[in-house]
Amino acid sequence: MATTLSELQGKPVSIITNDGRNIVGNFRGHDHTINVILDSCHERVYSTTAAVEVVPLGLYIVRGDNIAVIGELDEAADTERDLSSLRAVPIKPLAH
């Protein structure tokens, strides 16, 4: 019952990093330390006072050390959401 990320290949994912950032992109590859390659990705910057800011990033390698959660995006539900009306407190950084 090994946990494998291979089944995410090519799918849109949403990563929460240890410092609380949210990076969304297409999953292109990974290794055993959970280093992850994302292409056409963007960061979503949440704030309590303004709409979600979408920052285009392009092709990224995220080091496994720095990853907390990799979520498999439900594309339909995600496109349905109106990011411009979403307000949220930023996620806190990991405290070890």
Binding site: I16, V69, G71, E72, I91
Partner: protein, 96 residues
């Protein structure tokens, strides 16, 4: 390896995972690996109002290093068996 084996017996059960960034996720335990990275299906964020960043997910992979607690249903655990297994592992030098 004891806790790895233990979590393998909980695959398919409902669990709640609290992360070190104070986010809690509930879902069905899909798989675990040796690092206690876990994969959940049917994830729901506890307090989605506060964490819309993690809305619209189908499943998620949580890096073991980001986990603070995993809450498990008490009815699914045979504590006697677990204590016994702990004793055995310690008696044989930590099971390494």
């Amino acid at each position: 390896m004891l806790f790895y084996s233990f979590f393998k017996t909980l695959v398919g059960k409902e669990v709640a995972v609290e992360l070190k960034n104070d986010v809690s996720l509930t879902g069905t335990l899909h798989s675990v690996d040796q690092y206690l990275n876990v994969k959940l299906t049917g994830v729901k964020v506890v307090d989605e109002e506060r964490f819309p960043q993690l809305g619209a997910l189908k499943g998620c992979f949580i890096r073991g290093s980001a986990v603070r607690y995993i809450q498990i249903p008490a009815s699914e655990v045979d504590t006697e068996l677990l204590q016994d297994a702990c004793r055995k592992e310690n008696a044989s030098g930590g099971g390494r």
